[in-house]
């Protein structure tokens, strides 16, 4: 690896290794403490009271009854909630989504927090919340597309345009030899990480200490500092372990702030743990979409136009529109392309980032529509996709930093046995009489880079320290980033002290957008490079060092030693250099960020191809995915087993997207009908087939110094589409409404 601007070369052997999780021992012994596992001295319990109506006002709360219950210490309502430095509806930045934290009696969605009861025990606080017996003035709700007006939003996702495209789509469709005009519906999804949101908050004067699961500690510090009118550095967040995030813990949520406010109110540490059913509302969800796809192709099966129209819903009080158009911008070559959004306001919480926001929902519609067009053209769906392979990014014309999608298609197809696929639907039945079908979907996800800083240290005992405020929600940051750090310092893992997970460490950016390893990894790469450079500098100036005067040629680091690049037989250990110089340690700091020149001139995406086999019981309409093969190319792989785990986990979410999950709202009351794990179908192990991920080699020298692209979200994309397409191949029926439940196939 080269450090930019110096001639040094660093060697290491940890990147690319299948190391087991560093925090594995803590997790398998129960010693890893998640937020709700903490019990500071004097701690009280806080329980949310949440709204049973979706729209209206709280007209009464029986605070006296609650307070009279033994063990109840206080009740926090809009009347006595600690004053905030500014109203939580003020948009101080694009990520400051509006929070419901007891500013008034208004109710904007079901499960909105309306009070907090603090008690000496969980039992007492829970009883207090029940005794509040809220009364409401309820208003009519809107939770369906047909029940309200649509409008063109100002922006979608985070600041993306509501309309983008080029070429003449209408002409392209008019002149097409084959056309499809179809609409795909995707439902709302909730993250349902196994760990509910929780916070243990303690004020020490004006200093705030919190244990809470966070995918973005620095951004949380900023938000909380603004809300409470204190300095960000006076907020200490501990989040070493998250019980899953999936985007739901990226931004601080209202209930977490309420825990902090409760601690302020009672002057004692407070633990607030959300119950599963309370998570359906205040912490975000994947917005529901209706996607109208119009595609045209010429007589050879070449696309002539793609028109992707997305209708999606946000809340009444804030804007986030699920950005489903992204895949159309980046995947298939077409002379004319148009993506347009319309929005609606529902009486729900504000939708937000859920694993692969935009890409997941857009992918199933695009892959389904592409498949339908392939069918109209009489072409094999894989051949059709290859025919319309994009050599440059379709929306912008930019070249890709790297794109190994052809290898993904080829290797995935070969492993799956795609070549034997009959073209027509309903041609395969197995020995038990189950209809069998094979489908394909293309997977893609942008290779984002955010901004991060890191600090590295080399010590006089020859060990190293690397610190960065990175986040491990299960994706393996503790391990993968440590591998990068160890190689960055040319040390063995056991000589490295590696710290993440607390907010006093340098800002690593949010663990989201599949960007964390690339972003934080780049910062670590640069910080360790700076430490090595600093160490080399000391040696190169020291007349008694074998490295004296090696300045122009540079040094090589390996196994805790520096050697001259111009004569690698001459060198010495880190420990020797430092102790001779009389120093305890040497430090290096570094940043990780996107290279603006690359971002402006290139498109950076990870790619994949997913192949699915389904079996359908024609009498029951029951669909089982029996085989799933995904081949993915995402640049350099830091830890193959962990990367594989992310692909597998993502593909499972894709199965779930196609067949299982949907959040159902009661259209009269606006309340979630299935706000629990009994009725919201998170896949159980019997739902999951044999899944295989193939890691395709891909070198990318442009995307960042380490050549890393993200892998956490791409597995969903392509998979849901592959399954939906396989269902068509088995049954001849196109189901365009997710999830594909039994009754949709029969009725």
């Amino acid at each position: 690896m080269n450090i930019m601007n110096t001639a040094h070369v660093r060697h290491g052997s940890n990147i690319g290794q299948n190391l087991t999780r560093r925090e594995g021992a803590l997790k398998v012994t129960g010693a890893a403490r998640y937020a709700a596992d903490h019990h500071p001295a004097g701690m009280l319990y806080a329980v949310l009271a949440v709204s049973a109506v979706a729209r209206g006002r709280v007209t009464a709360l029986d605070v006296a009854a609650a307070k009279a219950h033994p063990g109840v210490v206080d009740v926090m309502t809009p009347q006595n909630a600690p004053k905030l430095a500014h109203h939580p509806d003020e948009k101080t930045n694009p990520f400051a989504f509006r929070l419901d934290i007891l500013q008034d009696a208004q109710v904007r969605y079901a499960n909105q927090p309306i009070a907090v009861v603090i008690g000496e025990s969980l039992e007492a606080a829970t009883e207090g919340a029940v005794l509040l017996a809220p009364a409401y003035q309820a208003e009519d709700v809107v939770v369906r597309f047909e029940d309200g007006e649509h409008f063109v939003p100002a922006a979608v996702g985070v600041g993306a345009p509501a309309e983008e495209g080029h070429g003449d789509v209408e002409a392209g469709l008019r002149n097409a030899a084959q056309r499809v005009d179809v609409t795909y519906d995707t439902p709302a999804h909730y993250h349902n990480a196994l760990e509910p949101h929780a916070i243990v908050a303690e004020w020490q004067g004006e200093r705030l200490i919190i244990d809470t699961p966070s995918q973005g500690m620095a951004i949380a510090q900023g938000r909380l500092a603004g809300l409470f009118g204190i300095a960000p550095e006076d907020i200490y967040i501990r989040s070493p372990y998250l019980g899953g995030g999936f985007g739901g813990k990226g931004l601080i949520a209202g209930p977490q702030v309420l825990g902090i406010m409760a601690a302020k109110l009672v002057g004692k540490p407070v633990k607030l743990v959300m119950r599963r059913e309370q998570l359906y509302g205040p912490i975000g969800h994947r917005g529901v979409t209706r996607q109208h796809m119009r595609l045209g192709a010429d007589t050879e099966g070449g696309l002539t136009a793609i028109d992707h129209h997305i209708l999606t819903a946000t809340s009444r009080f804030d804007d986030f529109f699920e950005p489903s158009a992204g895949v159309t911008h980046t995947l298939y070559a077409t002379p004319a392309l148009l993506t347009r959004y319309e929005g609606m306001r529902f009486d729900t919480g504000t939708p937000l980032f859920v694993r692969a926001p935009g890409e997941a929902s857009g992918s199933v519609a695009l892959e389904g529509a592409i498949d339908e067009l392939a069918e109209a053209c009489g072409m094999d769906p894989l051949a059709f996709r290859l025919k319309n392979y994009a050599e440059t990014e379709p929306l912008t014309g930019k070249p890709f930093t790297s794109k190994a999608l052809r290898a993904c298609y080829a290797q995935g197809a070969a492993r799956f046995g795609w070549a034997k696929r009959p073209l027509a639907a309903r041609m395969m039945t197995d020995a038990q009489g189950l209809l069998t079908g094979w489908g394909v979907g293309t997977a893609t996800f942008p290779a984002h880079m955010f901004q991060a800083s890191a600090r590295a240290e080399i010590r006089s005992d020859g060990s190293g320290v690397v610190e960065i405020g990175a986040h491990d929600m299960g994706q393996g940051a503790w391990t993968a980033l440590a591998q990068i750090a160890a190689d960055g310092l040319s040390l063995d893992m056991d000589k490295l002290t590696f710290r993440i997970g607390t907010s006093d460490l340098p800002d690593a950016g949010i663990a989201g957008g599949s960007a964390h390893t690339a972003t934080a990894g780049s910062a670590i790469h640069n910080a360790t490079g700076a430490a090595i450079a600093a160490l080399a500098d000391i040696a190169m100036r020291d007349e008694t060092s074998p490295l004296f005067g090696a300045g122009n040629a540079g040094v090589v680091s390996r196994d805790g030693h520096l050697y001259r690049r111009d004569d690698e037989s001459r060198g010495e250990s880190y420990a020797t250099i430092l102790s001779r110089a009389g120093l305890d340690s040497v430090e290096g700091r570094g940043e990780g960020a996107a290279d603006q020149a690359v971002t402006e001139n290139y498109a950076g995406h990870a790619h994949g191809a997913v192949f699915a086999e389904v079996k359908v019981d024609p009498e029951l309409g029951q669909v089982r995915v029996t085989r799933l093969v995904g081949a993915f190319a995402a640049g350099r792989v830091i830890n193959p087993r962990m990367v594989e785990s992310q692909y597998l986990g993502g593909m499972i979410w894709g199965v779930s997207f196609a067949l299982h999950e949907e959040a159902i709202m009661d259209r009269r009351t606006g309340r979630p009908v299935n706000g629990n794990l009994a009725d919201y179908h998170v896949p159980v192990n019997a739902d999951i087939p044999s899944v295989e991920a193939i890691l395709i080699d891909e070198q990318d020298s442009l995307i960042n110094a380490l050549g890393i692209k993200g892998v956490g979200e791409i597995g969903i994309t392509g998979t849901a589409g592959a399954i939906v397409n396989a269902i068509w191949h088995a049954t001849g029926i196109r189901v365009r409404s997710m999830p594909v439940t039994l009754d949709k196939l029969l009725f």
Partner: protein, 166 residues
């Protein structure tokens, strides 16, 4: 609310406490005894993150009132490793075979897998899958969990053989 005395044995240690009748066993473990390895993931007895071993059976401790466990012998994740810290074969296997990501379901999975292997020391993949049907995982897709349990079965059989030979 008036508290009642309760006593039981947890990880070989006697426990005597006062507890409200409506205190669930999971909360007793986590809030009164600071045994926070068992986790809470739902409110409807589905996810299995709270699974412990009670009188020789895998049970969901969120669906048992503490007083119902009077006199019981309970094992939690904190009792799986040896006194000197040596990991149990299951713990080792979950680690080696990447049977965990976020780790939240892991203590419940391990306790369940442990009892499963007591009852059936050489299970097939299908038997493992059926046996852990009461434990949800949102991260891994279960494949590596099944592999970990399979691997643990082999390790435990090997250890038993070694013991028998000695």
């Amino acid at each position: 609310m008036k508290k009642s005395p309760v006593s039981m044995t947890i990880n070989g240690q006697p426990v005597e406490e006062l507890v409200e009748p409506r205190t669930l066993l999971i909360h007793f473990l986590r809030e009164q005894l600071n045994l926070t390895g068992a986790h809470i993931g739902c409110e409807t007895s589905h996810c299995g993150a709270c699974t412990i071993d009670l009188d020789g059976k895998s049970v969901k401790s969120c669906t048992i009132f503490t007083l119902q466990a009077e006199g019981a012998h309970i094992r939690t994740i904190e009792g799986m490793a040896a006194a000197d810290g040596t990991l149990h074969a299951l713990q080792e296997a979950f680690r080696e075979k990447h049977g965990l990501q976020c780790g939240y379901c892991t203590p419940g999975m391990i306790l369940r897998a442990w009892r499963l292997l007591q009852e059936n020391p050489d299970p097939t993949d299908a038997e493992i899958r059926f046996g852990i049907a009461g434990n949800l995982c949102r991260c891994t897709g279960y494949q590596n969990i099944v592999a970990a349990i399979k691997h643990a079965a082999i390790l435990m059989a090997g250890a038993q053989q070694k013991e028998a030979a000695e």
